[in-house]
């Protein structure tokens, strides 16, 4: 059998990449383009007809102030969360690779919040904020303080706190891998050359871990931008719709307000924004990566 024939190569390709390719098309590509088509209709989600409306949805989406304010809120939330998640994750990773007693136990411990689904986690924390913290406050000050969740800034603070608590453990694992990937001899060489350990960390270890940073920031950014479950269970957009994130607004628009076409349009805009931010960040992050 000739192994360099085109048909043979095609066959080989189809055999290995075919199933995955078909699945990818079926669950990603086709729905994506179908969704794209729906952005040009004023479909309500259940009707048999899907009236074509051209670019109306795009115009309406750009004029939807509630959407843009939810998006603005999401940006603020994401920037703060991403920074905190990565800072905390990095220090946790440093801690559990520095050889402290029971570091495997701590690794597992910090990772556990990730195993709890966002919905359950939200309800648990809601209880903590509404009851436990209020009771503690009452015991300390004598008067019952308001729950953090009932104020605008408080609700955002709670969202960020819980996100950091949830994601830091996961990102920690990637940083742990990054720390392990740095050859000890390089660090030792730096120390012998007269660096103190802070400078060795800053000039040798961190540059070599650049790939971990790129990955972690990308993952945490996309996760934060798309946050929905936590938003739903912890604050449900309250108080006064002041903690509605972009994904929640899109869901409401599509399903609650029955503007499926418009919800789809807003979801697409959100997707484009995420894709651009993600791609830029990965591009600039990779650019200066040091090959170890």
């Amino acid at each position: 059998m000739k192994t360099n024939k085109l048909s043979y190569k095609m066959g080989q390709f189809l055999m290995f990449a075919g199933p995955a390719g078909i699945l990818f098309c079926a669950v990603v590509i086709v729905p994506f383009f179908y969704g794209l088509y729906l952005t040009f209709t004023s479909w309500d989600g259940v009707s048999l007809e899907k009236p074509f409306v051209g670019l109306d949805n795009y115009a309406a989406a750009f004029a939807d102030t509630a959407y843009w304010s939810s998006l603005g809120r999401t940006v603020v939330y994401s920037v703060i969360s991403v920074i905190l998640v990565n800072v905390v994750a990095f220090f946790l990773a440093y801690l559990v690779t520095s050889g402290i007693k029971g570091q495997n136990f701590f690794r597992a411990g910090f990772f556990i919040p990730n195993l709890i689904g966002g919905i359950v986690l939200g309800y648990v924390w809601k209880f903590v904020f509404n009851r436990a913290f209020v009771s503690i406050g009452e015991a300390l000050s004598g008067t019952a303080p308001g729950s953090l969740l009932s104020t605008t800034n408080g609700a955002m603070f709670c969202l960020i706190l819980v996100s950091v608590w949830q994601y830091a453990g996961y990102m920690m694992l990637i940083y742990v891998a990054g720390f392990m990937g740095v050859d000890n001899s390089l660090k030792e060489a730096a120390l012998i050359d007269g660096c103190n350990s802070t400078r060795a960390m800053w000039h040798v270890v961190i540059p070599l871990m650049r790939a971990s940073f790129v990955q972690c920031i990308f993952l945490s950014t996309t996760r934060c931008f798309m946050v929905y479950d936590l938003n739903l269970s912890l604050t449900n957009g309250e108080p006064f719709s002041s903690s509605v994130m972009a994904a929640m607004h899109v869901y409401n628009q599509a399903f609650v307000y029955k503007n499926y076409g418009m919800g789809q349009t807003e979801a697409l805009v959100l997707f484009v924004i995420c894709a651009v931010i993600g791609a830029l960040q990965v591009y600039f992050g990779k650019k200066g990566e040091v090959a170890a």
């Binding site: 989600g45 259940v46 509404n130 308001g146 969740l149 009932s150 719709s241 029955k258």
Partner: protein, 424 residues
């Protein structure tokens, strides 16, 4: 090493095979009867419905399956219709019937139960929605808690004006009940249930909404708006969670009411399902919102038919299934067992005149009394789809004291100018 791999793959294969078996297993044991599905969107009767369905299936030779979902009803049905797998019977709100009926529902005009109820939902002269129950809202009171302090028997009719009601609140406060009221912060309670009364209590609700949409209504000076908000202010000022109104949890509020720690709460007879989870007193009821008015609205509760059932008319449902579904509706309305299920098992107020069974829960009793004597102001069913979210948020601001009445009135006017009515 190798043997481990082998064991692993054997286990994996058996798990997969087992999964396949169970996937097919469901259909095998089904009875020969037609299989119909019922979508339930009323969580408080989930267990009762399931038990009823099991019994019904055994007796009638029809395989009835009840499926519950807590999703937004329209969103849930959208998914089912998108996957071409609709329920035979779906439980929805009246406004969903208005928007879904013409395309998706079976015409029920010829059914025998239609003449037996005032609450069926019709679109263009055809009946599409079967009313499951009558629900009403007003101020829930705990008479025992009040009588313990006043020492007299509590008759809600004595407190229909706001002045009298405030007097009672002061009396309760003097008697040691620090804050006699609870307010639920949920947007559906604040917007769909309380705020909607501003429209519903108008002499002509539709005309008022038209004015609102045209931007010609002067809300800040509207009599009904002010009367209702005067009442709301009294409730708000005496709210047990005054400093923390937006994080007050429903369960806590209802528990306080059930146990008599507070005496009043704005709500409806559906709240019984939460109240009865606590150490409750039977001596409760629902009274109209106290208002200083002559128009009689302070003697009526708000309410009407709630939760409509409609039958799917798409190709995914066979004629046999539709017949079986019609039979089931008829059973609910006319058969003795069906009647008893609605009233005695599910604790609902039946919307059918021929169903004279006595309602067991005290809140339902109140609703039935008001309904029977014609003292229910009808629901306004056409609130826009984003009404609960948008106006609910404004109501929360008002409740939290972040917004005064004038600002609220402006927000309310602005909202209606761009609002699209649902189902009209």
């Amino acid at each position: 090493m190798k043997s481990w791999k082998r064991i692993g793959s054997t286990i994996l294969a058996s798990v997969v095979a087992l999964g396949m078996l169970t996937a097919c297993g469901g259909g095998g044991s089904a009875s020969s009867g037609t299989k119909i599905t019922l979508f339930n969107s009323k969580v408080e009767i989930e267990t009762q419905l399931e038990e009823m369905a099991e019994k019904y299936s055994e007796e009638k030779g029809v395989d009835l399956e009840v499926i519950y979902s807590g999703d937004v009803v329209a969103a849930h049905l959208a998914t089912k219709y998108a996957s071409n797998d609709p329920y035979t019977i779906s439980m929805v709100d009246a406004k969903d019937v208005y928007s879904l009926a013409e395309e998706h529902a079976v015409d029920l005009s010829d059914e025998s139960w239609v003449s037996d109820t005032d609450y069926a939902v019709s679109v263009n002269g055809k009946v599409y929605g079967f009313p499951l129950c009558v629900e009403g809202r007003g101020i829930i009171y705990n008479a025992d808690a009040i009588e313990n302090i006043t020492g007299e028997e509590f008759d809600p009719a004595d407190y229909k004006t706001l002045e009298a009601f405030e007097g009672l609140i002061d009396e309760l406060k003097d008697g040691g009940m620090e804050s006699p009221v609870g307010i639920m912060k949920e947007d559906w309670s604040l917007a769909a249930h309380f705020l909607s009364e501003v429209v519903e209590q108008q002499p002509d609700a539709d005309a008022f909404v038209e004015q609102l949409q045209a931007g010609t209504a002067d809300v800040a000076n509207n009599e009904k708006f002010n009367q209702l908000f005067d009442a709301f202010d009294v409730l708000k000022d005496n709210n047990y969670a005054k400093n923390n109104a937006i994080s007050a949890e429903r369960e806590v509020t209802e528990q306080k009411l059930a146990e008599g720690e507070i005496a009043f709460m704005f709500g409806g007879n559906w709240d019984w399902s939460v109240i009865n989870a606590y150490d409750y007193t039977e001596n409760m009821g629902i009274m109209p919102i106290p208002e200083d008015t002559e128009d009689g609205t302070n003697e009526k509760l708000l309410g009407g038919g709630a939760k409509m059932l409609f039958i799917d008319n798409s190709d995914a449902t066979t004629d046999e299934q539709r017949e079986a579904a019609k039979e089931f509706l008829k059973w609910l309305a006319e058969d003795d067992e069906g009647k008893s299920f609605i009233v005695e098992t599910a604790n609902l107020v039946s919307p059918f005149k021929s169903n004279t069974l006595e309602v067991s829960d005290p809140l339902g009793k109140s609703i039935k009394e008001y309904a029977d004597s014609g003292n229910l102001i009808p629901n306004y069913d056409y609130n826009p789809d984003d009404y609960i979210t948008v106006m609910g948020a404004e109501m929360q601001k008002y409740l939290a004291g972040e917004e005064d009445r004038a600002a609220f009135a402006t927000a309310y006017e602005d909202y209606w100018k761009t609002a699209t009515l649902s189902g009209k």
